[in-house]
């Protein structure tokens, strides 16, 4: 492979700076001691972080988002495992269709889905229901966990299951002791990806949440449109930190580059 010239490297550096800029600025501004959105030049302060933790609405919505993420990611992953196995282990005519159906939420704009679910929720009086909100998140994040389960399944040597059968294991034992352990990196990676996708989601959630179920991104969006102060910056910085922790876990368990580029 040829080397990259200095022009290319300069270009890349600019791109990197561009991609990092908003995240860095948010983290910097979060430490400002003043009331305005300025980079702290006279010293840092943790007052806005304290303000975040004291802000009951923000904290409530954080816990909402956390529980929502845990529950919907778990449901999505639980449902993705058999679906992923069905698509990769069996030869049947509708296989391609099924794969397309399960990945279809990816091409439906979250806006449209939000609006559609709002309509359904209003008809069945589900607007304040946490359970229904979780299911709304599930449909959006299934493609993420499913993709990783499928990639993991494709990457395993199917002969291992035959070997286990030949050694006398029942089909359930094969599933429990051979299939699932081999798929575990994909399953956990899928879970984490689904979790963070649910945690971050804002567009659909704006339509579908009710005052009692408001999620953190929605709360932050509403706050940001009404007032601009460093409280928002501190909350954002904390979110970046939270995301970084999840990314670290994702990298350890599965490999961040594999997850982002597309489970290969």
């Amino acid at each position: 492979m040829n080397k990259n010239g200095p022009l290319s490297l300069a270009f890349s550096t600019l791109v990197i700076l561009f991609m990092l800029a908003p995240l860095v600025i948010v983290c910097l501004v979060a430490f400002t001691p003043t009331n305005t959105l300025a980079i702290p030049t006279d010293g840092v302060s943790l007052r806005w972080f304290k303000a975040v933790f004291n802000h009951s609405d923000l904290m409530t919505s954080f816990w909402n988002s956390l529980w929502l993420g845990l529950i919907s990611a778990s449901i999505a992953t639980a449902v993705s495992i058999p679906a992923g196995l069905a698509i990769t282990r069996y030869e049947f005519k509708a296989r391609g269709w099924l794969n397309g159906i399960f990945l279809s939420p990816l091409i439906i704009p979250h806006l449209v889905l939000g609006v559609a679910l709002l309509r359904m929720f209003s008809l069945i009086d589900a607007r304040g229901s946490f359970a229904w909100l979780a299911m709304a998140h599930v449909i959006i994040i299934i493609p993420y966990s499913l993709r990783l389960v499928i990639a993991a399944s494709v990457g395993t040597d199917r002969a291992c299951e035959h070997a286990a059968l030949s050694l006398g294991a029942s089909r359930l034992t094969v599933f429990r002791r051979v299939t699932v352990p081999m798929l575990l990196p994909g399953i956990t990676g899928g879970w984490l990806l689904a979790f963070i996708s649910s945690f971050d989601e804002v567009t659909m959630s704006i339509f579908v949440t009710a005052p009692s179920t408001v999620t953190l991104p929605v709360r932050m969006y509403m706050y940001a449109t009404e007032s601009i102060d460093p409280l928002m910056a501190a909350a954002s910085a904390l979110m970046v930190l939270f995301t970084a922790v999840v990314m670290l876990a994702l990298d350890r368990l599965y490999g961040l580059d594999k997850v982002l580029v597309g489970g290969k």
Binding site: A159, C160, H162, A164, L165, S166, L167, G168, V178
Partner: protein, 353 residues
């Protein structure tokens, strides 16, 4: 009563016949190879014995029990898969232990057997390693240990050596045979490599397009191939075409350039015949002597032997010679060719391949 018996085993995938009327009786302790080019049905046959492929027609009997429709996890056979299929999340020891766990063997008994088996494949020091930390040859031996530790009635090997490099493959061939003889396990091996099949099998089953074409000991298979395909697949062969003519109680074949006596059967006078002649059966003598003359066109050196291509009135003939030190056969030189007429093997098909 044979130990393993395949009777009329046939397999169809939709309308396509993949294995047709496969009949084989294997004795206890025998090492049988299924040999043939890819697509000949040998792997499918193995999968039917293992229970991973449905049988369309026919029966499989193991030690007096009809296992034709038994589930693969009830047959208790030892299988070494082509990719080895080691459980990646388990150590070597755990891999080998798995089959014994399924049989609910007491733990101390398991440990004893595992230790003995790992020792036999020289992997005792690697017991706590994971498959990804092992070389190809080591993984293969783990797969073998896992299959044999359960003391199966039959050992099935699916191209067990194809993923190894040439030198390792040779070593493992002999290792495999040694272990098999020590344990006395009846073994069926599938391979496309004829030297592999020949060197370690008691009998070789040659398959072509789903059918058995010849079952014989390696020596008989080599010396007396039944068809042109087999004669070229197993070793090299010169195919000589001629017309048979009765002479007294024997036969003479008119090859055009010359006539030679031959041992023939099942034909009538003036029938066309094809005879197979192995390169190492031909000797090069002084020009002017021998049955016919040939000019050397190419010379190949293989270390322990030479291969010569000669242009003769019978077409191009290949002659093999052991490396005895000095070689006088060079391109352009003319030599006489001679051989013992009984080494010409009559082939069943009359068309040359």
């Amino acid at each position: 009563m044979s130990f393993l018996s395949l009777q009329g085993v046939t397999k169809f995938y939709d309308q396509i016949c993949v294995v047709s009327d496969f009949n084989l009786d294997v004795q206890k302790g025998e090492f049988v190879s299924l040999l043939g080019p890819s697509g000949c049905g040998k792997t499918t046959t193995l999968q039917m014995v293992a229970g991973f492929a449905d049988i369309t027609a026919g029966d499989i009997w193991l030690d007096g029990v009809n296992i034709t429709h038994s589930k693969p996890n009830t047959r208790g056979l030892g299988i070494v898969f082509q990719s080895y299929a080691l459980f990646p999340h388990m150590t070597v020891q755990a891999n080998v232990r798995f089959g014994l766990e399924m049989r609910r063997m007491p733990r101390h008994e398991q440990d004893k057997r595992i230790r003995a088996m790992l020792d036999m494949v020289h992997l005792l020091a690697f017991a706590d390693r994971f498959p990804r930390e092992l070389s190809g040859g080591q993984r293969q031996r783990v797969a073998l240990a896992r299959a044999l530790v359960i003391e199966p009635p039959i050992l099935l090997l699916d191209e067990p050596l194809s993923n190894l490099d040439a030198k390792l493959r040779e070593e493992m061939q002999f290792e495999l045979r040694k272990i098999q003889k020590t344990l006395g396990t009846t073994t069926i091996m599938v391979t496309h490599d004829q030297s592999e099949a020949m060197s370690i099998s008691d009998r070789v089953v040659v398959m072509e397009a789903g059918k058995i074409t010849q079952i014989d000991s390696p020596y008989a298979l080599y010396e007396k191939p039944q068809t042109a395909f087999i004669s070229k697949f197993v070793g090299k062969a010169n195919l000589l075409k001629g017309q048979a003519q009765q002479q007294g109680t024997g036969w003479i074949v008119n090859f055009g350039a010359l006539c030679l006596p031959a041992e023939l059967s099942g034909i009538e006078s003036n029938d066309k015949v094809v005879l197979s002649l192995r390169p190492e059966k031909i000797s090069l003598v002084e020009a002017g002597m021998g049955y016919l003359q040939g000019t050397v066109t190419q010379v190949f050196f293989f270390g322990d032997r030479w291969l010569f291509h000669l242009d003769t009135p019978l077409g191009e003939l290949i002659v093999a010679g052991t490396n005895v030190g000095v070689n006088e056969v060079q391109e352009g030189k003319v030599f006489g060719l001679t051989w013992q007429t009984h080494t010409m093997q009559q082939l069943k098909e009359c068309q040359a391949i």
